[in-house]
């Protein structure tokens, strides 16, 4: 069975990627998991400089999901290269580095710096974090902004460029198209849904940041729909995510049109989820006589549904 997938020029040994912001820098999990067995690790979002993030409380549990407003606490790109990459190289991890900026120049600078660093395999451009006011999501919420960031980053790097898209727009597929037009090698979606929770006893928001991003199984059907919509709009590979908690969930995204998937919240619950997902996908491939996972991508069969739709 062949689980490998291609994201632009990058070949992943399997389609399972640890989602940015949900796996630290990867090294945190090295005691528990052989990092080389993951398709890739999307690093925690990195700015040029270290950031402190928001004060606690940073997460709230909600029905079948959670809100987070971490605020992109992070060590900055230079410390990542100096302190984390050597270990990640030694552990033979495939590293997709998630980059965040306030200005277009910051994204370009980050892309330049990381393109020269050994052990970086792709760049995921964070234009979708709902938890910081400036930059980032401002680009991701407009067609021009998305186009401008992606084309500027593409000019300075040989690495595959993967903008990570926000679902907090009217039409995510048109944003995906803008990214593709700008030269994106793939798109990843979705980031979290802007959301909030209030303590009715105190009438205070539960998060210090007032609002945060919703993730977990609660968002999965919306995320699947968005991947499906993007699949029909763009040709580049899609990395799908949103509430994947088992192999069937991952397959749902792949069948909807995702070439690879990211797993975030479910890893918090079960850090050993990766081998279980792989086993479940392999079992499915055996049962359905699928030799290559790539053959499943976008294999959704809507023919009967369309007929029913027409006849009703």
């Amino acid at each position: 069975m062949d689980l490998s997938v291609d994201i632009g020029s990058l070949r992943l040994s399997n389609p399972l990627i640890a989602a940015s912001g949900c796996y630290g820098y990867g090294v945190e999990y090295a005691d528990a998991v052989d990092l080389s067995t993951l398709g890739a690790i999307a690093s925690k979002g990195l700015f040029l400089k270290p950031r402190e993030g928001h004060p606690p409380q940073r997460i709230v549990e909600t029905p079948s999901g959670m809100l987070n407003a971490i605020g992109l606490q992070g060590i900055g790109v230079h410390r990542y290269i100096a302190e984390k990459l050597p270990e990640l190289r030694r552990l033979r991890a495939t590293n997709i580095v998630n980059i965040c900026g306030v200005t277009l120049d910051e994204y370009v600078e980050l892309a330049r710096i990381l393109s020269d660093a050994e052990g970086v395999h792709a760049l995921e451009i964070n234009i979708s974090c709902p938890n910081i006011k400036e930059g980032g999501i401002t680009f991701g919420c407009s067609l021009h902004g998305t186009f401008d960031v992606v084309s500027a980053v593409k000019k300075v790097t040989h690495l595959p460029v993967i903008p990570k898209l926000t679902p907090n727009v009217t039409d995510v597929a048109s944003i995906a198209k803008a990214a593709e037009d700008a030269g994106a090698d793939a798109v990843s979606l979705v980031n979290t849904f802007l959301a909030m929770a209030i303590d009715v006893e105190t009438r205070r928001p539960k998060l210090s940041n007032i609002v945060g991003g919703l993730s977990g199984p609660a968002i999965r059907p919306i995320a699947v729909r968005m991947v499906y919509e993007c699949r029909r709009m763009v040709k580049v590979p899609i990395i799908g995510m949103g509430g994947i908690a088992n192999a069937a969930d991952a397959l749902e995204f792949i069948i909807a049109g995702a070439t690879a998937v990211q797993v975030g919240t479910a890893n918090f619950v079960d850090p050993f989820i990766w081998s279980k997902l792989t086993a479940g996908i392999e079992d499915y491939m055996r049962r359905h006589k699928v030799a290559r996972i790539a053959d499943l991508v976008g294999s959704i069969d809507t023919s009967t549904r369309e007929k029913e739709w027409v006849s009703s």
């Binding site: 949900c22 630290g24 005691d31 402190e52 004060p55 606690p56 997460i59 971490i70 918090f268």
Partner: protein, 266 residues
């Protein structure tokens, strides 16, 4: 290396209408646990509650010299603690651990003064055993709302731990907060003391303040809202001193045990 064990409930003892001690058959985790470390408990296989909850390991349970499991001291306040309270023998609870930075047990001539508030008693059974092995004289300052919520006193007394009790309603021991008797004792001693504290954050802050006032080192075990326990989510951060400012560190990796003087209290 943390392990994820589908642990059978061996015993569940209700101590009061809110408190219980639940014993889980997770010998692999128990054998590797050091005093002050915690486990992440998942009490459902659905998505409510979705996330695990952290619990200090209370006792390492042995049978005929063999480690057979670990117990958790729990107070019913939320969904997971309610499930733990209601669990019956034979139920299966997923348990991930051991996790976190443990207490550093002192040796004689230093004395150990443990300060527990309510369910903050949890890490002090394993710490007591570690201190016993070193022959360290140990005192437990133990405070609760009421006398009916002071548990396992015989367990600690049987291990030679001196007990100093306090309750907010005065029904047992001294009336008031646990920091009252602690400060009184610090004022009177000239010996070398290490304070260990676990309880509500306001109590930890007060203990840290008193420890600083009497120039006594203290290790405190904090509890923050935790998502994963592995360093992945960055939710459980706590501010520590750094130069002239402060810096958020993850309490699951850098803690839950911190040197009191390093922490900045909000």
């Amino acid at each position: 290396m943390p392990l994820d064990v589908e642990a059978r409930v061996i015993q569940n003892t209700r101590l009061s209408p809110d408190y219980n001690v639940i014993t889980l058959a997770a010998p692999e985790i128990a054998a590797a646990t050091r005093p002050g470390q915690f486990v992440m408990v998942r009490s459902s296989h659905g998505s409510d509650p979705l996330l695990r909850r952290p619990f200090s390991v209370f006792e390492i349970v042995r049978s005929g010299g063999t480690v057979t499991g670990l117990s958790l001291l729990s107070k019913r306040i939320g969904v997971t603690t309610r499930l733990l309270f209601d669990a019956v023998e034979g139920d299966v609870i997923s348990c991930l651990g051991p996790l976190g930075r443990p207490f550093d047990a002192v040796s004689p001539p230093a004395e150990a003064w443990m300060v527990a508030g309510g369910v903050g008693l949890a890490p002090f059974a394993t710490l007591t055993e570690a201190l016993q092995e070193r022959g360290t004289a140990t005192t437990l300052f133990y405070g609760a709302r009421t006398g009916g919520e002071l548990f396992h006193l015989d367990w600690f007394a049987a291990r030679g731990v001196r007990l100093v009790l306090s309750t907010e309603d005065g029904s047992k021991g001294e009336r008031g907060r646990v920091t009252g008797p602690l400060e009184q004792a610090l004022r009177q001693t000239s010996g070398e003391i290490m304070i260990y504290a676990c309880g509500p954050e306001k109590m930890l802050e007060a203990v840290s303040h008193v420890a600083g006032k009497y120039k006594t080192p203290a290790q405190v075990s904090v509890e923050r809202v935790m998502g994963c326990g592995m360093g992945g989510c960055y939710s459980c951060v706590i501010p520590v001193r750094e130069g002239s400012g402060q810096h958020y560190v993850r309490s699951c990796l850098a803690g839950p045990v911190f040197t009191a003087a390093d922490l900045v209290w909000d």
